[in-house]
């Protein structure tokens, strides 16, 4: 006795007497009575088909059970079914109402409008409401996850596109660099060839310089030997001059001694003259001797002066000679030093010439090796260039794939947005909220309020309110998204009743979401979300719609 | 040089030096000899004389009187001239100590400084 059969029975209108046979209570009386009687009768016969009286105890037991059953049925079951029979029409009505609500809820759910579905679900019994709301919540959560995932897919696609662009840019730069390097390597090869030629010439010059250095070294060595010999002779002269100077000093001392003797003699002669005068006449001859002695002293003095003069000249010459020899020694020393320095420099020059010759040969060899290496580098760079070209082709495919991925993300987003969720990210919910606000606004405030709503939503390109005649009563477009764009057509002159979104909304009285199409406003790809404006009594008053550019849908 | 030399005092002479000049003082005339730092003070005739060095004592000296030519060009008081070790010296007159031997400043002078000629 399920509700369904009860409903079906209520629906078919059976005759009164037939309905009593289908009455479960009457059937119950019949079955129980029948069974009790049958059971009693079956236990009455004894062994071998004879009838026994009194009946055996199982018969009495069966009879007692049957009577108890009849009593119970009559006291409990039959009244129950009687009550049930009285409540059945009520239940049928209640069930019909419940069914209607459930159907409405599932219908809204099937249409993707989880908000209205939840509204219907809340009117259901608690258990049913809870289950249905839970299912709706799970579906809403899934839809939002799908939205998020679509945005993530689009972001990933954008990243891939950016990476592909960057890599493509890098590849272009790399290709340009390869070209530059190739040119530089060729220039390097030419320079190396010139260096090799110069090195060869340098080696020849170094060989000649080495030979010249050998001859110069010999000459310098001879010059050094000569200067050393001169130095020795000058030293000998200087030593002799010193000896002469020493002798002249001794002569000066002797002259000084002689001079002193002359002076003493002079004084002695004077004293002799004095004594001669004191002696009177007897001293006259002595005074002559004294005078002679004085003359002798005078001549001695003159000789000393003469010798001193000569000695002074001699000493002056000796000094000049000593000075000359000293200067000569110094000069010889300087010449010797310079000669030795020249000899050392020539030796270094010879070594350097030898080194230069060897280095030149090494340079020549190295440049040849460098040329070979440059050729290898050029070949390698050409291979790199081919790889870069192939990589650029692959990047283009990657970019195309990224575009398809982006489109896939948009498709998924649109699929998710087809659900009307109780979420600020649900476009249908957003537009329905706008519809409620615009419904409350006066006609003079309509456009201003619509403009405020559009400017406050960054991903909305345009919003509009179209009345039942298809006339665009209010129009607003995002200044940040459409700045500078020319309006392709005056939308107010168009009859919007022909637009697909208008027809869907006006017909189904519910929000609608279109697939991307080319906007009449600026010719770019947009999709539209539209919602009906209904009066208090549910009459259709118009449509509120928003256009969203496909390039900005990730900002939802 | 005349007249002939004659010793003034048989007791000998104390030889001292002042400013490079050698002086001789009769031992009998010496009243005292004291040391003042690196220098000496000689008490003669009641006066204190400053000397740089005490050269020594000689038993006798041949003393010549001062000549007129010397007095003409050197008016200081002296008892005569002598020679010792081939060096000339001036004999101090104990009654008239020479200005050349006076103490040079007040710090050197002792109590009861003798003015020139006062003790004579």
């Amino acid at each position: 006795m399920d509700a369904e059969s009860t409903v079906r029975a209520g629906e078919r209108q059976l005759p009164e007497w037939a309905t009593r046979f289908t009455d479960n209570a009457l059937v119950g009386w019949i079955v129980i009575g029948g069974l009790t009687g049958i059971g009693f009768l079956l236990f009455i016969p004894g062994r071998e088909g004879t009838t026994s009286w009194p009946p055996p105890w199982p018969a009495w037991l069966f009879l007692a059970i049957g009577i108890a059953g009849i009593f119970l049925y009559g006291s409990k079951v039959y009244p129950f079914f009687r009550r049930l029979e009285r409540r059945l029409p009520e239940s049928q009505e209640q069930w019909q109402r419940l069914e209607g609500k459930l159907i409405s809820a599932f219908e809204e759910l099937g249409a993707g409008d989880l908000v209205r579905s939840n509204q219907h679900a809340r009117t259901l019994p608690e258990r049913l409401s809870r289950v249905l709301l839970a299912a709706s919540e799970a579906l809403s959560s899934l839809a939002q996850q799908i939205q998020d995932s679509s945005i993530e897919v689009a972001s990933t696609a954008d990243e891939v596109t950016q990476i592909a662009t960057d890599v493509a840019s890098g590849s272009s730069e790399q290709a340009a660099s390869v070209v530059e390097i190739t040119a530089a390597m060729e220039e390097l090869a030419r320079t190396a060839f010139q260096i090799a030629e110069n090195a060869t010439r340098q080696a020849g010059l170094a060989a000649r310089a080495e030979a010249s250095g050998d001859a110069g070294a010999v000459a310098v060595d001879e010059a050094v030997s000569g200067v050393e010999e001169v130095q020795k002779r000058i030293t000998a002269i200087s030593q002799r001059a010193d000896a002469l100077g020493t002798r002249s000093k001794e002569i000066y001392r002797v002259l000084e001694l002689i001079n002193e003797i002359a002076q003493e003699t002079h004084i002695l002669s004077l004293n002799a003259a004095i004594e001669a005068v004191a002696a009177g006449a007897d001293g006259r001859r002595f005074s002559v001797v004294a005078e002679e002695v004085r003359h002798l002293a005078h001549r001695s003095q003159e000789s000393v002066d003469s010798v001193r003069g000569l000695l002074d000249e001699f000493s002056s010459s000796i000094r000049a000679t000593i000075v000359a020899t000293e200067e000569g020694m110094k000069e010889a020393g300087r010449v010797l030093e310079r000669s030795r320095a020249a000899s050392a420099a020539i030796a270094e020059l010879r070594l350097a010439s030898g080194d230069t010759s060897r280095v030149s040969q090494q340079i020549s060899l190295a440049t040849q090796q460098q040329n070979a290496a440059s050729d290898e580098v050029v070949m390698t760079l050409r291979e790199v260039s081919l790889v870069v070209q192939r990589m650029t082709g692959g990047l283009k495919n990657l970019s195309t794939t990224a575009d398809r991925l982006n489109q896939l993300g948009l498709d998924i987003q649109l699929l998710a947005q087809s659900f009307h969720l109780d979420s600020p990210r649900s476009l249908k919910n957003l537009v329905e909220e706008w519809a409620k606000k615009l419904q409350k606004a006066g006609s003079s405030e309509l456009e201003a309020q619509l403009d405020e709503l559009v400017q406050g939503t960054p991903f909305i390109q345009m919003g509009y309110f179209v009345d039942t005649t298809g006339y665009t009563v209010a129009l607003a477009y995002s200044r940040s998204l459409t700045n500078g764009h020319q309006i392709a057509v005056n939308l107010r002159e168009l009859d919007m009743t022909k637009r697909p979104w208008y027809r869907t909304v006006s017909r189904e009285k519910r929000s609608a979401l279109t697939q991307p199409y080319e906007s009449l406003f600026n010719g770019e790809k947009v999709f539209t979300v539209a919602s009906p404006i209904l009066g208090r009594d549910g009459t259709f008053m118009g449509v509120v719609g928003v256009d969203i550019n496909v390039t900005g849908w990730t900002r939802i | 040089m005349s007249p002939a030399p004659s010793p003034v005092d048989q007791r000998g002479y104390l030889l001292v030096r002042r400013d490079g000049v050698l002086w001789g003082v009769s031992n009998g005339a010496v009243e005292g000899l004291t040391r003042h730092g690196a220098r000496f003070r000689l008490a003669v005739g009641g006066a204190e004389l400053g000397i740089d060095e005490v050269v020594g004592v000689v038993p006798e000296l041949a003393v010549w009187p001062l000549t007129g030519a010397l007095r003409r060009f050197w008016p200081d008081a002296a008892g005569g001239l002598a020679v010792h070790a081939e060096a000339p010296l001036v004999i101090v007159d104990p009654h008239r100590p020479p200005r050349a031997l006076r103490l040079t400043d007040a710090s050197e002078s002792s109590k009861g400084e003798v003015a020139d000629g006062e003790r004579h």
Binding site: E260, A273 | G68, A69, L70, A87, P88, V90
Partner: protein
Amino acid sequence: MAEPLAESGHRRGLSAGSHLLVQAGEYVCALPLRSVRRVLRALTVHPLPGATDELKGLAEFGGEPLPVLELARLVGAPTGAKPAYPVTIVVWVGPQDARELVGLAADAALEVSEVQLTSVVAGNGGFILGEALVDGEVVRVVNLEALGGDQ
């Protein structure tokens, strides 16, 4: 008015004759030979404090003290070149009855020469008796008698 020395010299008992010519500064001085005791190389002189500029100091001569005078200062001679062999002339000074030995420091002892009295021109006094020409050179004759004692 100064009289010719020839006459005054006679009245004073001086006679012409040999003179020792010595160099004193830029002057050549003549010393009467009879008054010259000895010519010596310059003696070591010990200055006496408080002496005049003319007195060089005391020296030792023959074991006796000898005052030494600067001849150039005595005669007022300008300072000459530094002498190579300075000498000390030991002379008798003062009057004949009171002669004293004095040393005269000179730059050099030149020669003994005859000085003609008649050629002597009297001086203005002091230690120079007069001037004379000897071999064309002016010599100052020193008045040795004026050197002795207080005059």
